[in-house]
Structure formats: structure tokens, C-alpha cells
């Protein structure tokens, strides 16, 4: 590749020596690879490469990834409002210019935006600009101050999302217009992640997330304020994560035929009603690995009819975290566990982390049972022929609850190895 004769003085070669024969191998890389290198650098530094040499002058403008992050302009999270005002001016200047001068392509690889909601109207403008680039990867993350204001996603044209493959939204308000658009206007959608998002709207049918191509869906701490259940239909979905949040009318899963792994966390604030928890479990029939947090005895019993055919025909691993922490006694809890395991005849590994009993670090907690009797009665063994490994993880042990659990597990699952681990 011909390079113009250097007319300026060569920069001093002090400090670290230049490679071998002084050839600049970095600049010799093709544009595509230089863009790949630039994609790992913060935006301000990417723009500053314009002054390195003529080769680099306009390179940043055609970079396929645009990442506008206030962190790169000295605005940290958390940030006091006083500090923020001072630095926002510079950030505003930077974002305006970056988006103005970046080549207006209609096929940007990635657009990422992250900032506080100091000036929501400006944020709205920048986000609209970024979406207009028709990115394949779109990530928007906003931070509220204590007023919990959320960023409301601007109306989006269907044509802007037609290349979308990955979408991650954090702290954003979404209406059913947007989710409907995702369903109909994104033929390549694979990866969807909502974190601390609120679904709202007066839709007649509530929010629906339906995509024939969706592979991975994550919903962390989201809230559904509509008066209908949230419906998810994703026949190609391989991974599902529903962690906490609040779904007043529950979540309804359809066509989870391809699902391999699911992780569902619920808490005391009743992320889902008990009925919804059972329904959710029932929809996950095809999966191989399941992780549950906060599920309690009554739900784990699954159904009142013990003769129904097993639900989880493919389940190989089950991870329970903080489950069975309600008021039932150990026998009843184990009965519920047995009922659940009865529905997973091919289960190979079971992990119980901080389950069955609540543990406290306070050593002053009264020990109620100074001694216990572990009875040798005939215990029905669980019908779980393939289950070879049970891992019990605990933090603190009081009242001989741990040994009581281990004893009972040993009797119920005589063919399984039980591994005991203390966690921090």
C-alpha cells in the first residue's frame, strides 16, 4: 500500500524502540482489522486516532461500533448531581459531535449508549440517532437519580430495527408498541435482555414477546404494569432467565420446545403468584437444566394429582437456591421434593444451596434443640434411578438441621453420593 512521503519531522524514537526495521505494521492492517482493534477502545480515544497520520484521519468515522458511554468522559456511577452538571457539558459536546460526524450508514454494527438521565431530551435525541443507524446490536443503559425516573424509549420505525440481532435495555420504559415491533419487525432477533425495565400501556392484550428466531431471553427485575399476563412465545428459545421483578398478572410461556436451560428467581415480594409459579414450571417441560431460587414447598409439590405422567423428561441437572425456606417441617419439605423429583426421572445431579432451613450467622440465636434423634424407620426411597450426585451447600448450621437433612437425604436416595460444601 503506497504511503505519501513524510513531510513532517519523524517523531522522536526515544523510549521504547520501534519494531525491527521500523515498519509500521499497525497502520498496514486493512481497515476492517483496524476497526476491530478500535472497537476495544473507549470512544474518545478512538476519535483521537484521527491525528496519528493521514491513514488514520477518517478511520474512526467508519468504525462499525459506536459506544457512547459517560464513563469515558469522567462521569462515574454513582455520581452526585453537583459533579454531574459540570461534566455533562463536555459529554454533551462529545456525543453531539460523535453522532454528527460519524458516517451516516444505515447498517451500523453496534450502537451502545450509557449515561445518567441528566437531560432526558438530549438522551432521547442521541438514542433516536443511534437507532436510525439500523444497528445489529443495540444497547441502551440509563441511570436514574433517586427520583427513579426511567428513560422512555422513543417511538421507533420498523425499518430501523430490521437488522436487529441483539437488544439490551436497562432502566427503560417500554410499551406494547415496541414489543409488538420486536415481534414483527426483527427477522433476525436472537438475544434479548431487559434489566429493570417497566412495561406499561393500555394494550388490549398486554405485552407479548413473540419471535421465531429468539435464542436467549433475560428479564431481570422487570415490572409489568399492564392488566394482562406477559406472554412469551419463542419456539427457538434455548436459554431463559426470569429473575425477580413483579408481574402482577403473571407470565405465560408458550412453545418452549427448544429450551435447554432456564433460571427462575422469585422472592418474598411475590414476583409470581404460587399458581403462576406452577404454571411456569409446567411450561418448561423440555429442558435439560433448571435453576430455581425462592420456590417454596407448596409450589414444589407441583400438582395434587400424583399419578400424572412426569413433566421433565429431559431434565439432567437441577439447582435449587434458597428453596423450601417456609414453615413446613423437614419431612413435609422432603415429601414435596420427592414429588418434584418424581417428575424428573432422568435427573443426574441435584444441588441444594441454602435450602430447607434458614441459616443465621448470629451465634447468639437460641439453639432450640440440644439433641435430636435420627430415626431408623423405613423410609420410602425417591424414584430417581439416574440421580448419582447430590450436592448440599450450606452457610451456617444450627439446631442440627444440617445433619438431619443429610440423614434423610441419605435414606431417601441410597444410590446417590452426597457432597457437602460450606459456602461463604
Amino acid at each position: 500500500m503506497a504511503r505519501p512521503e513524510p513531510t513532517a519531522k519523524r517523531g522522536c524514537a526515544g523510549g521504547q524502540a520501534v519494531a525491527g526495521d521500523g515498519v509500521d505494521r499497525l497502520s498496514a492492517l486493512p481497515d476492517g482489522l483496524l476497526h476491530a482493534v478500535l472497537s476495544f477502545l473507549p470512544a474518545p480515544q478512538v476519535v483521537r486516532t484521527c491525528v496519528l497520520s493521514r491513514r488514520w484521519r477518517r478511520l474512526w468515522r467508519s468504525a462499525p461500533r459506536v459506544n457512547v458511554d459517560e464513563l469515558n468522559l469522567g462521569i462515574t456511577v454513582p455520581c452526585s448531581r453537583g459533579d454531574l452538571e459540570a461534566r455533562w457539558g463536555r459529554f454533551e459536546d462529545f456525543a453531539d459531535n460523535l453522532l454528527l460526524f460519524h458516517d451516516s450508514t444505515s447498517s451500523l454494527g453496534e450502537f451502545r449508549y450509557s449515561s445518567h438521565l441528566y437531560n432526558p431530551r438530549q438522551v432521547d435525541r442521541w438514542v433516536r440517532r443511534g437507532i436510525e443507524y439500523c444497528p445489529a446490536v443495540l444497547e441502551i443503559q440509563t441511570y436514574s437519580f433517586s427520583d427513579h425516573r426511567r428513560f422512555k424509549l422513543p417511538p421507533v420505525a420498523a425499518s430501523s430495527l430490521h437488522r436487529l440481532k441483539t437488544l439490551r435495555l436497562s432502566n427503560v420504559n417500554l410499551g406494547c408498541n415496541f414489543t409488538d415491533l420486536l415481534c414483527s419487525g426483527c427477522p433476525f432477533l436472537e438475544d434479548l435482555e431487559f434489566c429493570c425495565c417497566d412495561f406499561y400501556g393500555n394494550c388490549s392484550q398486554g405485552i407479548t414477546i413473540a419471535s421465531p428466531t429468539l435464542n436467549k431471553l433475560v428479564m431481570n427485575c422487570c415490572k409489568d404494569n399492564t392488566s394482562h399476563p406477559l406472554v412469551i412465545t419463542a419456539p427457538s428459545l434455548v436459554y431463559l432467565r426470569l429473575h425477580f421483578g413483579c408481574y402482577k398478572n403473571g407470565i405465560s410461556l408458550h412453545k418452549m420446545d427448544s429450551l435447554v436451560t432456564a433460571s427462575i428467581y422469585t422472592d418474598e415480594n411475590q414476583t409470581f403468584t404460587e399458581k403462576n409459579q406452577r404454571e411456569l414450571l409446567g411450561s418448561l417441560f423440555n429442558l435439560t437444566g433448571l435453576e430455581l431460587l425462592g420456590f417454596e414447598t407448596e409450589v414444589m409439590m407441583l400438582s395434587d394429582k400424583p399419578d400424572k405422567c412426569p413433566i421433565f423428561c429431559n431434565m439432567r441437572t437441577l439447582y435449587l437456591y434458597g428453596c423450601f425456606l417456609d414453615e413446613y417441617d423437614l419431612n413435609e419439605k422432603l415429601e414435596a421434593l420427592e414429588c418434584f423429583l418424581h417428575n424428573a426421572p432422568f435427573l443426574e445431579k441435584l444441588t441444594l444451596e441454602r435450602c430447607m432451613f434458614v441459616s443465621f450467622s448470629d451465634s447468639e440465636w437460641e439453639i432450640e434443640r440440644k439433641n435430636i434423634t435420627l430415626q431408623h424407620q423405613d423410609k420410602k426411597t425417591f424414584q430417581c434411578p439416574k440421580l448419582k450426585l447430590v450436592e448440599v451447600m450450606y452457610e451456617y448450621d444450627h439446631d442440627h438441621q444440617l445433619i438431619e437433612l443429610l440423614w434423610n437425604l441419605g435414606k431417601s436416595l441410597p444410590n446417590a453420593n452426597i457432597k457437602l460444601t460450606k459456602v461463604k
Binding site: E5, V18, D24, L26, S27, G32, V37, S53
Partner: protein, 170 residues
């Protein structure tokens, strides 16, 4: 020369052992300077380019790689073999050392170009990240010095560009 040297490279040993253990197809990769490397199919498939050839069944006579020199291919295979055979934490430690020893600037770019040619996306990402790490935080002149970039702007031109893009400079 058309046959591999007498001294067996570590990449070869690992590859042979892995291939033998699994009784899988072995693919012969030939660098542009004639060095040959026997690689198990599962590792070879980490290269998108070779993977396509395996699927199309045209690897019988070995795969000629016109763009890649022997010593570079050895490094690439070292990475791929380690990635294929190690747990996540072990691989992270290996990666740190692997790129630290690519201190010679020639080698890093050889690897980037080879990874691009072979479509080994993970290696390409890691190598580009390494190059980016060597740019990050440096001032303009420091970057020029480190990589040997020749400044072909006149002082006036450079000043103009800096003014134009003042919003990006401190």
C-alpha cells in the same frame, strides 16, 4: 523443504495426543513456507475456514495455507489447542502469558492477520484486544513511537485537525 523438522513442536505433540486419544480425523495443515502440522479435527474446526473445508470434504491432501508462515501457525495452534483442552480459569492465565510473550510487535500482527485469514474469531478478538491494550491511555505521540507510525501531517495540518476535533481532546 516439504516435511516437518525433526524437532517436534509442542503444538504437534498436544495435537497428536488429542487426536490419537479420540481416534478422530486428523487434518494436515501446511504453512506457506512448507511446515506441516497434524491437527485433530475438533481443534481444526475452530478455524471457520478449515471447518468449511472439512464439511466440504476437501482436506484429504492436507490444507495449504498460503498466507500463514510456519512459526505463526505454530502460535495459532498453541492457542487453539489450549483453548480446546483447558478449563476457563486455566485458559485465562494462559492467555495473559501468551499475549505477553507476543511482545515482539511483528508477532502480534502476524497472529492478527493469520486469525483473520483462518476465521478463528476468538483468537482474532483476543489479539485485537491485545493491540488495543497497547494503544489505550497513550498520548498521540506515544502511540506513534510505540508502533512506528510516521506522522505525515505538517504541523499546521495537525493543529487544524486537533482544533476540528477539540471535543474529543482533553
Amino acid at each position: 523443504m516439504s516435511s516437518s523438522s525433526d524437532e517436534k513442536k509442542p503444538a504437534d505433540d498436544a495435537a497428536d495426543a488429542a487426536a490419537a486419544a479420540e481416534d478422530e480425523q486428523v487434518v494436515m495443515l501446511r504453512s506457506c513456507d512448507g511446515e506441516e502440522f497434524a491437527v485433530g479435527a475438533s481443534v481444526a474446526k475452530m478455524s471457520g475456514m478449515v471447518s468449511n473445508m472439512i464439511d466440504d470434504d476437501c482436506v484429504d491432501g492436507g490444507v495449504q495455507l498460503p498466507m500463514v508462515k510456519g512459526h505463526v501457525l505454530a502460535r495459532v495452534l498453541e492457542y487453539l489447542n489450549k483453548k480446546h483442552g483447558s478449563a476457563a480459569e486455566e485458559f485465562t492465565n494462559f492467555k495473559a502469558e501468551f499475549f505477553a510473550t507476543l511482545a515482539d510487535r511483528e508477532a502480534l500482527f502476524d497472529v492478527i492477520l493469520a486469525a483473520n485469514f483462518l476465521h478463528t474469531q476468538d483468537l482474532l478478538d483476543d489479539a485485537c484486544q491485545c493491540a488495543a491494550d497497547r494503544i489505550r491511555g497513550k498520548k498521540v505521540q506515544e502511540i506513534r513511537d510505540y508502533f512506528g507510525i510516521v506522522n505525515d501531517f505538517t504541523p499546521e495540518e495537525e493543529e487544524e485537525i486537533r482544533k476540528e476535533n477539540a471535543w474529543a481532546f482533553d
